[in-house]
């Protein structure tokens, strides 16, 4: 009986019902649109950024990297780490840093598999091309400027251990916007062949020459930085080949080979933190660091998008609530005789309130379904426009649409019930 009354009451007042339904459907549509878009953007942006390459880097943990002055750096065994990373579908590129001399100037030389490097650094802007052959070299913009390198120029890199110099042709100069621009990138095989493993390098302290406590991981970055910025190094044309001293007599900022792994971890920052935690749990001598400039930017953008969507949704919900409340109150006034009659037949105020709430909830459910379909379709259009991808209907969006819409319905129904409770049935039925 109640269901029949609810259905017939809604159909009996088509004007007000349509207005209410339209307002609620708009609310549900926008809720579904914002929710779907926010979720899709988060996923798609993460996906897009993942396509840019690495989002984290694995360094040897400080405890194993900071060595006593006289202790040779033990070679880092990455096999366990790489096994774990591959098991988690993490794309990797292991980079080994060496110090080399080009025309007597110290430079940071990074050795890496070219294909892996390309996968991790797809966002680099390369003038020329990336290396294909074993004697080809990709130079960072800043180090190329410092050394006066140009495309197709052939250079010789001398290794500090006295191995025969490597001969390379500069096939590309890249811009990355970070410290990689201070490095020369060579194919790993040749570099490994040239260096013949870490033990072949002079074993020298790996602490920062000027900043105490800086560990090997950071030092590797500092090294290239110094190569580009330290006047002593930049101008040190007379850099001796033997490690441990400069022409000024101070310690040479050199190191044994130092490796790290660039990683593209599926997911967002939390996935990176989870992986770091997993590595810590396994007590592997490695620490994971997000590439902050990308991830913080990503988080920042996503936070702003979510905030914007949330604020818009609140605004929509408030406006819809105002509209629906007005419609419900209008319905109460319009149906005051009917509601008074129900009370005269013995309906309690609560029963009348339940009737109004059910009417609103029924319209809210219809609006939720319609709004979810419309909102998802609109989100499809937005996401296709921005990301050229399709969206899937999301349960979260349905929940958001239902939550907001039914929340508005219940609020309006509650106000209507309150208004109905204030009716004076005797006066209304008398015709006053």
């Amino acid at each position: 009986m109640l269901g029949r009354m609810v259905a017939k009451a809604i159909l009996k007042n088509p004007g007000v019902s349509l207005w209410t339904l339209a307002a609620l459907t708009t609310c549900a549509t926008l809720a579904a649109l914002f929710a779907t878009t926010a979720m899709e953007v988060q996923q798609k942006m993460s996906g897009e950024l993942r396509q840019l390459g690495a989002n984290a880097v694995a360094y040897p943990a400080p405890a194993s990297a900071t060595l006593p002055q006289t202790t040779p750096a033990p070679p880092m065994d990455w096999s366990a780490i790489e096994e774990l990373l591959h098991a988690r579908d993490v794309k990797t590129a292991r980079v080994t840093l060496h110090v080399g001399l080009v025309e007597g100037r110290p430079v940071a030389v990074a050795a890496c598999n070219p294909q892996s490097l390309t996968a991790m650094t797809d966002y680099w802007s390369v003038t020329g091309r990336r290396p294909n052959g074993s004697n080809e070299l990709l130079a960072g913009r800043r180090v190329a400027t410092m050394l006066g390198l140009s495309l197709n120029q052939r250079i010789s890199i001398q290794w500090l251990n006295g191995e025969s110099p490597g001969q390379y042709r500069v096939v590309g100069i890249f811009e990355s916007g970070d410290e990689d621009e201070d490095r020369l990138f060579v194919p790993q095989v040749l570099a490994t062949g040239a260096a013949v493993g870490p033990a072949r390098f002079a074993q020298v302290p790996v602490t920062h020459p000027q900043v105490p406590g800086v560990t090997a991981g950071r030092y590797a970055n500092c090294l290239s930085c110094h190569a580009a910025t330290d006047p002593k190094i930049r101008n040190g044309a007379s850099m001796p080949l033997s490690p441990g001293s400069t022409d000024a007599g101070s310690p040479l900022p050199t190191t044994s080979d130092f490796s790290y792994i660039l990683m593209s971890i599926p997911g967002d920052v939390s996935a990176i933190r989870a992986l770091d935690q997993a590595i810590n749990d396994l007590e592997l001598p490695v620490q994971i660091t997000p590439l902050q400039q990308v991830l913080h930017g990503e988080e920042h953008v996503l936070t702003k998008i979510n905030l914007l969507a949330g604020l818009a949704l609140v605004a929509v919900a408030v406006l819809t609530a105002l509209g629906v409340c007005a419609a419900v109150l209008a319905r109460v006034v319009q149906r005051r005789k009917e509601l008074a009659l129900l009370q005269s037949l013995g309906a309690t105020r609560r029963a009348v309130g339940v009737l109004l709430l059910l009417e609103n909830t029924a319209m809210g459910l219809v609006a939720t379904i319609a709004g979810f379909i419309l909102g998802t379709a609109l989100a499809q259009g937005v996401v296709r426009q921005v990301f050229h991808a399709n969206v899937q209907p999301r349960v979260g969006a349905l929940a958001a649409a239902a939550g907001v819409t039914l929340g508005v319905c219940l609020l309006a129904g509650w106000l209507g019930a309150r208004r109905a409770a204030q009716l004076q049935p005797a006066a209304i039925l008398r015709g006053d």
Partner: protein, 239 residues
């Protein structure tokens, strides 16, 4: 006198501005008694009925219905009491416009206990509306609507029937049908309180209570004969 169905003790209903729609009325109505409330418009008949059914509350005095002091009950308790004990018949019928005749009857069942369509249909049979059960109020004549209203009032087997101008909007033929129904209800032993301008309907009551300016100005008894002219049936009542 029968045990009282209704007892009013110095009941007053005053409105803001000092208007007293009901002014200090004392009245006792016995179980199974048929009372007619008569008087000119604005004399307080409808207000008195609303005080009896609990839709309105006195500003002073007490209203006892079936031994229950309504002033002791809150709004929802009064509603519960009303659906158990009182059937209401309105001059304007007050049917829910989007429900059919039988659904309007079932509505009273719903708020009383549980819906039984067969019983609702039987109630319509009793008022000779079985063939109009699935019609909307807008598809019914005034007399038919009033009979639906009566069926609805009777569906929960109330002890007291309060009727406000039940024939006021009906033609003579339909009014006669309603009168017949009332007489049957009286024979069944129900307590009837009918507010009316109609002297013929009023003349059928056992007692006529005449109101003016919210006060009882006259009470008289009738022989309750439906066949005699109303003037002759009223004993001790002025016309």
């Amino acid at each position: 006198m029968n045990p009282s169905a209704v007892q009013l003790e110095s009941v007053t209903r005053a409105y803001p501005g000092g208007v007293r729609a009901v002014d200090g009325i004392d009245l006792t109505i016995g179980l199974g008694e048929w009372i007619a409330l008569m008087g000119p418009s604005g004399s307080g008949k409808t207000t008195l009925l609303n005080l009896l059914d609990g839709l309105d509350r006195p500003t002073d005095g007490r209203v006892h219905v079936m031994g229950q002091d309504l002033s002791q009950l809150d709004v929802d308790e009064v509603a519960t009491f009303r659906r158990e004990n009182i059937g209401l018949i309105f001059q304007q019928f007050h049917l829910v416009s989007y429900l059919t005749a039988v659904e309007n009857v079932m509505l009273a069942q719903y708020y009383h206990s549980m819906v039984d369509k067969q019983e609702a249909l039987h109630a319509l049979v009793r008022v000779q509306l079985a063939d109009r059960a699935d019609h909307l109020p807008s598809q019914l004549s005034g007399g038919e609507q009033q009979r639906v209203c009566i069926a609805r009032a009777l569906i929960n087997d109330p002890k007291i029937i309060l009727a406000d101008e039940p024939t006021g909007n009906l033609d003579e033929s339909n009014a006669d049908r309603v009168v017949d129904i009332f007489q049957r209800l009286h024979r069944e032993g129900r307590t009837l309180v009918v507010a009316t301008h109609d002297p013929d309907l009023g003349g059928l009551a056992q007692r006529i209570v005449r109101l003016r300016h919210g006060q009882i100005v006259e009470e008289c008894c009738s022989d309750g004969s439906a066949s005699a002219p109303h003037a002759a049936r009223l004993a001790g009542c002025s016309r």
